[in-house]
Symmetry: C2
Subunit: 133 residues, 2 copies
DNA sequence: CTTGACCTTCCCGTGACTGGAACCCTTATG
DNA sequence: CATAAGGGTTCCAGTCACGGGAAGGTCAAG
């Protein structure tokens, strides 16, 4: 199978698939004309990667997950540890973004948003005068 | 004031302050020995930047906000538009992360996490067999 | 024989910095 | 006077996970 087919089958751009080869995540064969040739197993692997990436795992985590996936003697605890770590990072990021959102939403609410120059948003950015009174 | 003092006063690393000069966000004076010299106004501006960045505004948004901040005739609506747009992006990101979190949390819960190889997390990544039965 | 859709490699750009090398300026101390 | 410490300076490279685009090879159809 050529890279274009693999791309449609996995949803990954061809560029991304080449990149994954570059960094050693997949190693397709080569046809006589130099074209990459992918087996169903390669496609399966790339789908695994696409799914893991869509869940926000980093490339290095994907590499680890792939290794575990291909290790028939792996311990599920190892997989869960990676997932849990990632989960913690996601939770932290969510909290951080929620704080940003709350602050910003408050400022946007406080701003009348017309053609006058007075603006609580800028006042906050300027010096943390969070609307006195 | 030298860059080190500005760094402590604003909480921004010196490297970042130099970077902000590079991209034209601040333009400190220069002393005879080539050192950057910052006025209180520069520090104020950098604090503005630090606060805006901490709220997740991109550098380009910061540039726009700075321009509005320094335009005494600005309309608060313009500021609010930028903030609102940013708010939407934050909301979208939060939703995306929450979906990731929910999926991952489900998988982690389903994984017994011991030394056996059987693992629902890998099963999901492998092919979307989301635990049949 | 040409067209057009594929494929290849290669290099640059992204955002917002961070690390590090190699060097200059200033002050204090032996 | 040498030197060491602790500022500062420039410039280059790396991060992460690709994406854009150039320059060119390959293949099936008309």
């Amino acid at each position: 199978m050529n890279i274009g087919d693999v791309s449609t089958r996995t949803g990954l751009p061809a560029k991304t698939i080449r990149y994954y080869e570059d960094i050693g995540l997949v190693t397709p064969d080569r046809a006589g004309n130099g074209y990459r040739r992918f087996s169903p197993a390669h496609v399966h692997k790339l789908r695994f990667l696409a799914r893991a990436r869509s869940l926000g795992f980093s490339i290095e985590e994907c590499r680890d997950l792939l290794a575990l996936w291909e290790d028939r003697a792996r311990a599920s605890a190892d997989v869960r540890a990676i997932a849990n770590q990632h989960l913690d990072r996601i939770e932290a990021k969510i909290t951080e973004l929620q704080e940003m959102r709350d602050t910003l939403a408050g400022l946007v609410r406080a701003c009348h948003g017309d053609d006058r120059p007075d603006c609580p948003i800028l006042r906050d950015l300027e010096g943390g005068t969070p609307k006195a009174g």
